[in-house]
Protein backbone atom coordinates (compact mmCIF):
# COMPACT_ATOMS: atom_id res chain seq x y z
CA UNK A 1 0.00 0.00 0.00
CA UNK A 2 2.71 2.42 1.12
CA UNK A 3 5.01 1.26 -1.66
CA UNK A 4 2.24 1.73 -4.17
CA UNK A 5 1.64 5.26 -2.94
CA UNK A 6 5.36 5.96 -3.20
CA UNK A 7 5.49 4.66 -6.74
CA UNK A 8 2.51 6.80 -7.75
CA UNK A 9 4.09 9.87 -6.17
CA UNK A 10 7.41 9.12 -7.86
CA UNK A 11 5.73 8.78 -11.25
CA UNK A 12 3.80 12.03 -10.84
CA UNK A 13 6.89 13.97 -9.73
CA UNK A 14 8.93 12.47 -12.54
CA UNK A 15 6.32 13.41 -15.10
CA UNK A 16 6.09 16.96 -13.78
CA UNK A 17 9.86 17.48 -13.58
CA UNK A 18 11.10 19.73 -16.38
CA UNK A 19 12.63 17.78 -19.22
CA UNK A 20 16.32 18.52 -19.68
CA UNK A 21 17.93 19.06 -23.02
CA UNK A 22 21.46 18.29 -22.01
CA UNK A 23 24.35 19.41 -24.20
CA UNK A 24 26.35 16.64 -25.86
CA UNK A 25 28.86 15.04 -23.55
CA UNK A 26 31.69 15.45 -26.07
CA UNK A 27 31.15 19.21 -26.26
CA UNK A 28 31.16 19.68 -22.51
CA UNK A 29 34.12 17.34 -22.10
CA UNK A 30 36.13 19.10 -24.77
CA UNK A 31 35.40 22.53 -23.27
CA UNK A 32 36.39 21.23 -19.83
CA UNK A 33 39.62 19.84 -21.30
CA UNK A 34 40.45 23.23 -22.81
CA UNK A 35 39.75 24.97 -19.51
CA UNK A 36 41.98 22.50 -17.71
CA UNK A 37 44.82 22.96 -20.21
CA UNK A 38 44.50 26.75 -20.04
CA UNK A 39 44.53 26.65 -16.24
CA UNK A 40 47.68 24.51 -16.25
CA UNK A 41 49.36 26.80 -18.76
CA UNK A 42 48.49 29.84 -16.63
CA UNK A 43 49.75 28.08 -13.52
CA UNK A 44 53.06 27.31 -15.20
CA UNK A 45 53.32 30.89 -16.46
CA UNK A 46 52.71 32.28 -12.97
CA UNK A 47 55.27 29.89 -11.49
CA UNK A 48 57.79 30.95 -14.14
CA UNK A 49 57.23 34.64 -13.44
CA UNK A 50 57.55 34.03 -9.69
CA UNK A 51 60.80 32.10 -10.19
CA UNK A 52 62.21 34.83 -12.44
CA UNK A 53 61.26 37.49 -9.89
CA UNK A 54 62.96 35.49 -7.15
CA UNK A 55 66.16 35.12 -9.22
CA UNK A 56 66.21 38.85 -10.02
CA UNK A 57 65.65 39.71 -6.36
CA UNK A 58 68.51 37.45 -5.29
CA UNK A 59 70.79 38.86 -7.99
CA UNK A 60 69.99 42.43 -6.96
CA UNK A 61 69.99 42.13 -3.20
CA UNK A 62 71.87 38.91 -2.57
CA UNK A 63 75.36 40.51 -2.62
CA UNK A 64 74.49 43.69 -0.77
CA UNK A 65 76.89 44.50 2.15
CA UNK A 66 75.44 43.34 5.39
CA UNK A 67 74.97 45.62 8.32
CA UNK A 68 78.26 45.67 10.28
CA UNK A 69 76.89 45.28 13.72
CA UNK A 70 79.02 42.38 14.87
CA UNK A 71 82.03 42.61 17.22
CA UNK A 72 85.49 42.12 15.74
CA UNK A 73 87.33 39.21 17.35
CA UNK A 74 90.58 41.22 17.47
CA UNK A 75 88.86 44.00 19.44
CA UNK A 76 87.41 41.48 21.74
CA UNK A 77 90.79 39.85 22.40
CA UNK A 78 92.22 43.18 23.55
CA UNK A 79 89.59 43.69 26.14
CA UNK A 80 89.38 40.16 27.50
CA UNK A 81 91.69 37.46 28.68
CA UNK A 82 90.95 33.86 28.74
CA UNK A 83 93.05 30.87 29.78
CA UNK A 84 92.17 27.36 29.08
CA UNK A 85 91.68 25.30 32.23
CA UNK A 86 94.19 22.80 30.93
CA UNK A 87 96.96 25.42 31.20
CA UNK A 88 97.52 24.53 34.84
CA UNK A 89 98.46 21.07 33.75
CA UNK A 90 101.17 22.19 31.36
CA UNK A 91 104.63 20.63 31.98
CA UNK A 92 106.33 23.78 33.40
CA UNK A 93 103.57 24.38 35.86
CA UNK A 94 103.49 20.78 36.75
CA UNK A 95 107.20 21.00 37.27
CA UNK A 96 106.82 24.09 39.47
CA UNK A 97 104.20 22.49 41.56
CA UNK A 98 105.95 19.25 42.11
CA UNK A 99 109.41 20.80 42.69
CA UNK A 100 108.27 22.55 45.83
CA UNK A 101 106.21 19.93 47.41
CA UNK A 102 105.05 21.24 50.75
CA UNK A 103 106.25 19.32 53.72
CA UNK A 104 103.57 18.15 55.93
CA UNK A 105 104.28 17.75 59.58
CA UNK A 106 102.13 16.22 62.19
CA UNK A 107 100.85 18.99 64.35
CA UNK A 108 100.91 18.80 68.06
CA UNK A 109 98.78 21.93 68.48
CA UNK A 110 95.31 21.11 69.63
CA UNK A 111 92.53 22.95 67.98
CA UNK A 112 88.98 22.39 69.12
CA UNK A 113 89.73 19.05 70.72
CA UNK A 114 91.60 17.59 67.74
CA UNK A 115 95.15 17.82 66.49
CA UNK A 116 95.73 19.93 63.41
Amino acid sequence: MMQEENDTLRKRVNAAWPATREPAFDDVWEAAGERYTAARRNGRRIAGVAAAAAIIAIAMFGNAPMDESWVEVADLMESTYWTAPSDVLLPERQFDIYQDMPELFESTEPAGGTLL
Binding site: L9, V28, A32
Partner: protein
Protein backbone atom coordinates in the same frame (compact mmCIF):
# COMPACT_ATOMS: atom_id res chain seq x y z
CA UNK B 1 41.48 -1.92 -11.92
CA UNK B 2 42.06 0.86 -14.44
CA UNK B 3 39.95 1.48 -17.49
CA UNK B 4 41.63 2.16 -20.80
CA UNK B 5 40.12 5.66 -20.89
CA UNK B 6 40.73 6.37 -17.22
CA UNK B 7 41.74 9.91 -16.35
CA UNK B 8 45.41 10.53 -15.62
CA UNK B 9 44.80 12.27 -12.32
CA UNK B 10 41.79 10.17 -11.39
CA UNK B 11 42.52 6.53 -12.16
CA UNK B 12 39.15 5.26 -10.92
CA UNK B 13 37.22 7.58 -13.22
CA UNK B 14 36.86 6.89 -16.91
CA UNK B 15 35.51 9.07 -19.65
CA UNK B 16 33.01 6.42 -20.69
CA UNK B 17 31.67 6.10 -17.13
CA UNK B 18 31.16 9.87 -17.02
CA UNK B 19 29.45 9.83 -20.37
CA UNK B 20 27.04 7.18 -19.09
CA UNK B 21 25.83 9.41 -16.25
CA UNK B 22 26.14 12.71 -18.14
CA UNK B 23 22.42 13.35 -18.59
CA UNK B 24 21.65 12.58 -14.95
CA UNK B 25 24.43 14.86 -13.73
CA UNK B 26 23.31 17.58 -16.10
CA UNK B 27 19.77 17.37 -14.74
CA UNK B 28 21.14 17.79 -11.24
CA UNK B 29 23.37 20.71 -12.31
CA UNK B 30 20.40 22.34 -14.00
CA UNK B 31 18.27 22.31 -10.88
CA UNK B 32 21.29 23.66 -8.91
CA UNK B 33 21.30 26.66 -11.26
CA UNK B 34 17.58 27.29 -11.11
CA UNK B 35 17.13 25.79 -14.57
CA UNK B 36 19.48 28.15 -16.38
CA UNK B 37 21.06 26.08 -19.10
CA UNK B 38 24.16 28.24 -19.64
CA UNK B 39 24.97 28.24 -15.94
CA UNK B 40 24.37 24.50 -15.72
CA UNK B 41 26.69 23.81 -18.64
CA UNK B 42 29.36 25.97 -17.05
CA UNK B 43 28.92 24.09 -13.79
CA UNK B 44 29.29 20.78 -15.63
CA UNK B 45 32.50 21.95 -17.28
CA UNK B 46 33.82 23.05 -13.92
CA UNK B 47 32.98 19.67 -12.42
CA UNK B 48 34.80 17.88 -15.24
CA UNK B 49 37.82 20.18 -14.78
CA UNK B 50 37.88 19.20 -11.10
CA UNK B 51 37.91 15.54 -12.13
CA UNK B 52 40.53 16.05 -14.85
CA UNK B 53 42.87 17.91 -12.52
CA UNK B 54 42.38 15.39 -9.73
CA UNK B 55 41.27 18.10 -7.30
CA UNK B 56 38.15 16.04 -6.85
CA UNK B 57 39.59 12.57 -6.48
CA UNK B 58 37.34 9.54 -6.63
CA UNK B 59 38.54 6.64 -4.50
CA UNK B 60 35.75 4.12 -5.02
CA UNK B 61 34.28 4.73 -1.56
CA UNK B 62 30.89 5.42 -3.10
CA UNK B 63 29.37 5.05 -6.53
CA UNK B 64 30.77 7.35 -9.23
CA UNK B 65 27.35 8.85 -9.72
CA UNK B 66 27.06 9.84 -6.05
CA UNK B 67 30.57 11.26 -6.18
CA UNK B 68 30.01 13.38 -9.28
CA UNK B 69 26.68 14.60 -7.91
CA UNK B 70 28.51 15.69 -4.75
CA UNK B 71 31.13 17.53 -6.80
CA UNK B 72 28.39 19.41 -8.66
CA UNK B 73 26.60 20.17 -5.40
CA UNK B 74 29.76 21.57 -3.77
CA UNK B 75 30.66 23.66 -6.80
CA UNK B 76 27.12 25.02 -6.98
CA UNK B 77 27.24 25.90 -3.29
CA UNK B 78 30.50 27.82 -3.60
CA UNK B 79 29.23 29.55 -6.74
CA UNK B 80 26.03 30.53 -4.93
CA UNK B 81 28.08 31.91 -2.05
CA UNK B 82 30.17 34.00 -4.46
CA UNK B 83 27.13 35.25 -6.31
CA UNK B 84 25.24 36.18 -3.17
CA UNK B 85 28.19 38.16 -1.83
CA UNK B 86 28.41 40.00 -5.18
CA UNK B 87 24.70 40.64 -5.08
CA UNK B 88 25.03 42.08 -1.59
CA UNK B 89 27.74 44.41 -2.89
CA UNK B 90 25.60 45.47 -5.85
CA UNK B 91 22.62 46.13 -3.59
CA UNK B 92 24.82 48.20 -1.30
CA UNK B 93 25.84 50.57 -4.10
CA UNK B 94 22.66 50.48 -6.12
CA UNK B 95 20.93 53.86 -6.05
CA UNK B 96 17.41 52.63 -6.61
CA UNK B 97 16.16 49.15 -6.98
CA UNK B 98 15.29 48.38 -10.56
CA UNK B 99 11.99 46.76 -11.27
CA UNK B 100 13.42 44.40 -13.85
CA UNK B 101 11.54 41.24 -14.39
CA UNK B 102 13.73 38.23 -13.85
CA UNK B 103 13.08 35.80 -16.56
CA UNK B 104 13.31 32.24 -15.40
CA UNK B 105 14.37 29.79 -17.97
CA UNK B 106 12.43 27.12 -16.22
CA UNK B 107 10.93 24.92 -18.85
CA UNK B 108 8.64 23.15 -16.45
CA UNK B 109 4.94 23.04 -16.86
CA UNK B 110 2.63 24.97 -14.58
CA UNK B 111 1.33 21.69 -13.43
CA UNK B 112 0.18 21.51 -9.82
CA UNK B 113 2.61 18.71 -9.04
CA UNK B 114 5.53 20.83 -10.16
CA UNK B 115 4.26 23.78 -8.14
CA UNK B 116 3.92 21.50 -5.13
CA UNK B 117 7.50 20.31 -5.58
CA UNK B 118 8.76 23.88 -5.97
CA UNK B 119 6.96 24.90 -2.80
CA UNK B 120 8.91 22.38 -0.73
CA UNK B 121 11.83 23.58 1.39
CA UNK B 122 15.15 23.33 -0.47
CA UNK B 123 16.46 20.20 1.22
CA UNK B 124 13.20 18.35 0.84
CA UNK B 125 13.05 19.33 -2.81
CA UNK B 126 16.63 18.19 -3.31
CA UNK B 127 16.10 14.78 -1.77
CA UNK B 128 12.89 14.28 -3.75
CA UNK B 129 14.76 15.10 -6.95
CA UNK B 130 17.68 12.83 -6.11
CA UNK B 131 15.52 9.87 -5.13
CA UNK B 132 12.59 10.22 -7.52
CA UNK B 133 14.22 11.70 -10.59
CA UNK B 134 17.90 10.73 -10.34
CA UNK B 135 17.35 7.22 -9.00
CA UNK B 136 19.60 7.48 -5.98
CA UNK B 137 18.86 5.73 -2.71
CA UNK B 138 18.06 7.85 0.33
CA UNK B 139 21.54 7.03 1.72
CA UNK B 140 23.25 8.15 -1.50
CA UNK B 141 21.09 11.27 -1.69
CA UNK B 142 21.99 12.16 1.89
CA UNK B 143 25.67 11.72 1.02
CA UNK B 144 25.31 14.04 -1.97
CA UNK B 145 23.57 16.64 0.17
CA UNK B 146 26.22 16.32 2.85
CA UNK B 147 23.83 15.34 5.61
CA UNK B 148 23.60 12.24 7.81
CA UNK B 149 21.52 9.36 6.50
CA UNK B 150 19.02 9.80 9.36
CA UNK B 151 18.60 13.47 8.50
CA UNK B 152 18.14 12.51 4.86
CA UNK B 153 15.39 10.07 5.80
CA UNK B 154 13.62 12.74 7.84
CA UNK B 155 13.73 15.18 4.89
CA UNK B 156 12.53 12.45 2.54
CA UNK B 157 9.60 11.43 4.73
CA UNK B 158 8.57 15.02 5.39
CA UNK B 159 8.80 15.84 1.68
CA UNK B 160 6.62 12.89 0.73
CA UNK B 161 4.10 13.76 3.40
CA UNK B 162 3.97 17.41 2.31
CA UNK B 163 3.64 16.42 -1.34
CA UNK B 164 0.82 14.00 -0.61
CA UNK B 165 -0.99 16.68 1.36
CA UNK B 166 -0.64 19.25 -1.39
CA UNK B 167 -1.60 16.83 -4.10
CA UNK B 168 -4.65 15.79 -2.12
CA UNK B 169 -5.71 19.45 -1.94
CA UNK B 170 -5.10 19.69 -5.65
CA UNK B 171 -7.42 16.78 -6.33
CA UNK B 172 -10.02 18.26 -3.99
CA UNK B 173 -9.82 21.62 -5.79
CA UNK B 174 -10.26 19.91 -9.13
Amino acid sequence: MRDSDALDNNPHVSRSALEAIHNQVYGWALSRCDFEHAAAEDLMQQAYVELLSGKARFDNKSSLKTFVFSVVQNLARSRFRRLSSRLRLVKQFQAEPTAAVVETAEPGSNDGVWRAVRALPARQRDIIELVFCRDLTVEEAAAVMGVATGTGRVHYDRAKKALRERLKHLVDEE
